[in-house]
């Protein structure tokens, strides 16, 4: 019996080490350790042994069983690991193959830039307002200190819709509506679409976009204007950007300035982008003209303010180096996807 057990054990060991896959090892487990397995069969034959031999034999069988169980378990684990490894290896993919994406769209570049601007000014406490695109002569010109016979009317070729009705030539019209409805302190920006009778070419469009800014309070100075614009310029063009004022003329501000920033391309050294000057003109600004304050019922002896108008289209074309403003209105998907 002992020999038989040894024989089974050896045969089993051999069979297990030669086992090829998980199925075979499972069969071996049944063959040797199962209810009808060979070791179980030996246990069943124990009755024929003497009472002295029985516990010894029992122990030997149990040891053999434990040994085999461990062996089979180990082998089974090995085979499983090998099988998994094989399977995973077979599943290797080419990771350079194209990604599967649910395509997302994009905002129009004008609005991407606008949203950045809104964020900057909102963080400085500016409320964001809207105004009508069809304006009256009163709001677009008269209240802005451009009376009927004023040569400044020639500065902006206006689209007219009827007597006294026109497409606004500047978001400044929204200044007036704001000052009429709000009392100082006022701190607003009014982004919007504006219209001028400019023939379409690479740098002109009859439809374009501005962001009007207005601050009115007691004791507002030109230094405050510069401070706000410096903050804006640093966020848009980078922390080292400098701001320069050049005197200019707008009927609704006095003093009026054109605002230049150091060219972000060359850092002010002079390059093709800034035509060698080191500066790029980005907007017009100034202190709100006393006549404008008066026309809105705000006492210019008590309050002062500043206003600025930023050309969104130009800001967008310079930011992305877009060569032709017409591309903005052509809406080719390959263009829109770039920003």
């Amino acid at each position: 019996m002992k020999e038989k057990l040894e024989a089974i054990k050896n045969a089993a060991k051999e069979a297990v080490s030669a086992a090829f896959d998980e199925k075979e090892i499972e069969e071996l487990r049944v063959k040797y350790l199962g209810k009808k397995g060979e070791l179980t069969a030996i246990l069943k034959q124990m009755g024929s042994l003497s009472p002295e031999e029985r516990p010894k034999m029992g122990q030997m069988v149990n040891e053999a069983k434990a040994q085999l169980e461990e062996l089979i378990g180990k082998k089974a684990k090995e085979l499983k690991n090998a099988a998994t490894e094989l399977k995973l290896k077979a599943e290797t993919i080419d990771i350079t193959m194209p990604a599967k994406v649910k395509k997302v769209g994009k905002l129009h570049p004008l609005n991407t830039v606008l949203n950045d601007m809104i964020d900057i000014f909102q963080s400085m406490g500016f409320d964001v307002l809207d105004g009508p695109e069809v304006e009256t002569d009163h709001y677009n010109f008269e209240c802005l200190n451009v009376p009927a016979d004023h040569p400044a009317r020639d500065m902006q070729d206006t689209f007219y819709l009827g007597t006294n009705l026109l497409l606004r030539t500047q978001t400044s019209a929204a200044q007036i509506r704001t000052m009429e409805t709000r009392k100082p302190p006022i701190r607003v920006i009014c982004p919007g679409r504006v219209f001028r009778a400019d023939e379409v070419d690479a740098t002109h469009s009859p439809v374009f976009h501005q962001i009007e800014g207005l601050v009115v309070d007691k004791g507002i100075t030109m230094c405050d204007l510069k401070g706000v614009l410096e903050q804006f310029a640093r966020e848009i063009y980078g922390p080292d950007t400098k701001v320069k004022f050049r005197p200019s003329f707008f009927p609704f501000t006095e003093p009026s300035v054109e605002v230049d920033v150091t060219c972000s391309e060359c850092g002010g050294k002079g390059c093709r982008v800034c035509k060698g000057s080191g500066w790029i003109e980005i907007l017009g600004a100034g202190m709100v003209h006393p006549n404008v304050l008066k026309s809105c019922g705000i006492d210019p002896d008590v309050y002062s303010g500043f206003a600025f108008g930023i050309g969104l289209d130009r800001l967008t074309t310079t930011r992305y180096k877009i060569s032709d403003i017409r591309l903005l209105f052509e809406n080719d998907k390959r263009f829109l996807d770039q920003f």
Partner: protein, 797 residues
């Protein structure tokens, strides 16, 4: 305003380089449009002396010349011209030279003979007789003069050594549209002396009143009119310096009298007009409105019909000059004109503008009147013109002046606290500095007890108060003194309008669904609505027209966004872009009445356009539904009948029972109008409706604790019963237990009777309180079947 540097130097000392001058003027408010160095386009062309001329062997007109160009060895040049002789001095373009006509001259061969340059004609140098005597000769321009040296640069010979600076004059400074105005500013900026010409002249006695009678009938349109008589004119070319000065500023020299009037206009800003005295009928000048139906033939030979809004300078009979705009042909100064009536006047600027616009004429003079000229300066200009007539011996000045006006303005006196100027600027500028700057600018200023008293002459009527004085001080003191201060005041984050916030969310949603935002013009062509095949009385045709559009293409304010969207889809399809989703949020302009008397409604509108192999009506519907959901709208779909959409594939969407959207596949006829050859789908959404919906705040619902039960149903019904009807029935039947329903099959064909379809649904039932009992499920199932039977659908067995 273009002015040559030499001209400016006559009035002011300029002790810096042109570049520095321009930089400084820019910082004082005079932007430089351009700096042109004369002769820049004439390079490597020198004086050559013809040493020898030989005939070309292989040509009967070419000649081979040896030219001394001052470089030791002479050069060989072949020319076709015949008007040259040995010993002549000629303009010689050397190898690698540039001519003003753009030509680049290099060495080459002419009929086999080397030619190392070119001899130039006046035409090739872009010169006329006025520039150089002999320039118009056919052939080579033969140089003349005593000091010609071979090798001298031709620019030197032609006197092209000046700079022409183009100053941009802002609309508030019409006083600077002249040499004197700019020169004064330069003198302040550079701190150098300004040399104002002091006009003096001699008269020949007599009395102007014996010559002419001047009347102004409309002082409103002509506040000042000054007339003088000059007799015994001696018409000849004006001197070289004057011609050059005028030419640099873009005008053409004509003769001494005309040139003097033009020069004085450029110098003082005051347009002058010279009448041929002998052509003035009745020896009268009457400044009056034109009579209806009167006409005038102007200097340029055009005849204009006038109306009574237009101001004319008439003689005893008829208009002789279109006031401030252009003189009449009849009283033109010609070479044989004997006597002159000279006018210096101020005309009202908007009247000149209106007349100029109405007749389509704009001249140097009218441009200046439109911008505004100074009523005091009118007299100075007249005296200056007389001085030049006298100095250039162009005629004899008759004693006496006719100066008609209704009183001249006095200086405006402003009193401003110097502290207020500093306060507005945010920069402490010493009061003494302010006084100094303002006085230099000829704004006579005294300071007393912190108050500035400023006397503003009429020529600076743009200076009205504190803000203007602050600007005058600051632009000279220097804007670099302004130091930015960070935003002060309560620390708050700015707000956005609720509409903007919602719109931004909709845009994010659309981008997330793969759509690109587009931007198109707010105006469309007058025919754009026809491309949608809209009926004649469609309300969208009630659109606002621009009175002065750039062209028909941009002539109507849009009442819908779909036409713009279709154009964008067409652009992308034409460029072979396979698929695309696009959206635009803009405004539609709906007039409150026509003709327009008040601002129209500007209503936020959204358009969506999609195309490509994976797109159909239902992908578009999916997009629309997400938007509706985002806005908290409860939607209903109805069949619609838009002419521009496929009759069987379009829907009207109601949001909370209000018509809010039309979507569908575009009608093939409309596609043809856009040259599109594939199916595209568009939606137009009235965002004003959606933005007006108050979306309920989301409130947490506990996640289900009990299992759902799924039951599948297949029904047979008439083909034209919509699934919407079936779903409504199921919803009603299932009642409170319904969690959701899912359409999983629609089938027509074999085993289904003709005209019928099979529709299959999974219905999910669930209760929040307990696991559903069989009884509950059976009741719900029974109810569902009953409700479906009521709409004509039968359970398939």
């Amino acid at each position: 305003m273009k002015i040559s540097l030499k001209t400016l130097k006559y009035y002011v000392d300029i002790n810096v380089s042109v570049e520095e001058l321009c930089d400084k003027m820019t910082l004082a408010g005079f932007e430089i449009e351009s700096i042109e160095k004369q002769g820049e386009n004439l390079r490597n062309v020198v004086v050559g002396k013809i040493l020898k001329i030989e005939k070309h062997q292989d040509s009967d007109h070419l000649q081979i010349c040896r030219i001394d160009v001052g470089k030791g060895e002479s050069v060989q040049i072949v020319t076709g011209a015949q008007n040259i002789s040995e010993g002549d001095f000629v303009p010689t373009a050397l190898d690698d030279s540039y001519l003003p006509n753009g030509a680049h001259i290099v060495a080459g061969k002419l009929r086999g003979v080397d030619s190392f340059g070119m001899l130039c004609s006046g035409e090739e140098l872009c010169l006329t007789e006025a520039d150089y005597e002999g320039a118009s000769v056919y052939g080579i321009m033969i140089l003349h003069g005593d000091n010609l040296q071979p090798g001298t640069d031709m620019r030197e010979v032609l006197g092209l050594d000046d700079y022409i600076i183009d100053f941009k004059i802002t609309a508030n400074r019409p006083d600077c549209n002249c040499f004197i105005g700019v020169a004064k500013e330069i003198s302040v900026v550079l701190g150098t002396e300004f040399k104002q010409p002091i006009p003096t002249y001699k008269t020949v006695g007599e009395n102007i009143k014996d010559y002419i009678d001047v009347n102004v009938l409309n002082y409103d349109l002509c506040p000042r009119y000054i007339g003088r008589i000059v007799k015994n004119l001696r018409i000849k070319p004006s001197p070289d310096w004057m011609q050059k000065s005028i030419t640099a500023s873009g005008m053409r020299p004509i003769n001494n009298i005309v040139d003097i009037t033009n020069f004085v206009m450029l110098e003082t800003g005051q347009p002058m007009h010279a009448f041929n005295y002998d052509d003035l009928s009745g020896k009268k000048i009457i400044v009056r409105n034109a009579k209806e139906g009167e006409s005038i033939t102007t200097l340029d030979g055009n005849e204009y019909k006038l109306n009574s809004d237009m101001l004319v300078i008439a003689d005893g009979e008829k208009p002789s000059c279109l006031a401030g705009i252009m003189g009449g042909k009849e009283s033109e100064i010609e070479d044989d004109t004997k006597n002159l009536f000279l006018e210096s006047a101020k005309f009202k600027r908007d009247n000149i503008r209106h007349t100029g616009r109405a007749l389509g004429i704009r001249t140097e003079a009218s441009g200046r009147f439109e911008k505004g000229i100074d009523i005091i300066n009118t007299e100075y200009a007249m005296n200056r013109a007389l001085q030049l007539i006298s100095d250039l011996d162009a005629g004899d000045i008759v004693e006496g002046v006719l100066d008609l006006n209704e009183g001249l303005p006095k200086n405006r006196i402003l009193t401003v606290k110097s502290a207020d100027i500093s306060a507005l600027l945010g920069v402490e500028i010493p009061e003494s500095e302010m006084v100094k700057i303002l006085n230099k600018l000829e704004l006579k200023t005294t300071a007393n007890d912190g108050v500035l008293t400023v006397s503003v002459p009429s020529i600076r009527d743009d200076v009205e108060g504190r803000a203007d004085l602050a600007e005058e001080v600051m632009r000279i003191y220097g804007y670099d003194h302004i130091v930015g201060t960070p935003m002060r005041g309560d620390v708050v984050r700015g707000t956005k309008l609720p509409e903007r916030i919602k719109t931004d969310k909709i845009k994010s949603l659309l981008c997330g669904m793969g759509a690109y935002e587009i931007a198109t013009y707010s105006f469309i062509s007058s025919g754009a609505l026809d491309t949608l095949n809209l009926s004649e009385n469609d309300e969208r045709r009630n659109a606002i027209k621009l009175l002065n559009p750039l062209g028909d293409e941009y002539s109507v304010l849009r009442t819908q966004l779909t036409t713009s969207m279709l154009s964008v889809l067409a652009t992308n399809i034409n460029r072979k872009i396979e698929d695309g989703r696009f959206f635009e949020i803009s405004k539609r302009f709906i007039p409150k009445q026509m003709p327009l008397t008040e601002q129209p409604y500007e209503l936020p509108t959204m358009s969506i356009g999609i195309y490509g192999k994976d797109e159909d009506f239902f992908t578009l519907k999916g997009i629309v539904e997400e938007i509706m959901k985002l806005c908290g709208a409860h939607t209903q779909y109805e069949r619609s009948c838009e002419a521009y959409l496929h009759p069987g594939r379009q829907a009207l969407v109601k949001a909370n029972n209000v018509e809010a959207c039309v979507l569908g596949e575009v009608h093939p006829d409309v596609l043809a109008n856009y040259g599109i050859e594939q199916r595209v789908y568009v939606a137009e959404i009235k965002l004003d409706i959606l933005l007006g919906i108050n979306k309920r705040k989301s409130v947490f619902k506990p996640l289900p604790k009990f299992p759902a039960v799924e039951r599948d149903f297949a029904f047979l019904c008439d083909k034209d019963i919509t699934v919407g009807t079936l779903e409504q029935a199921i919803t009603k039947g299932a009642g409170r237990l319904l969690e959701r329903i899912e359409l999983f099959d629609i089938y027509e064909g074999s085993q289904i009777p003709e005209g019928k379809k099979s529709v299959a649904y999974s219905v999910y039932l669930r209760s929040a309180d307990a696991t559903l009992t069989d009884e509950q499920i059976d009741t719900a199932t029974k109810n569902i079947i009953e409700k479906l039977e009521k709409v004509g659908a039968e359970l398939r067995k």
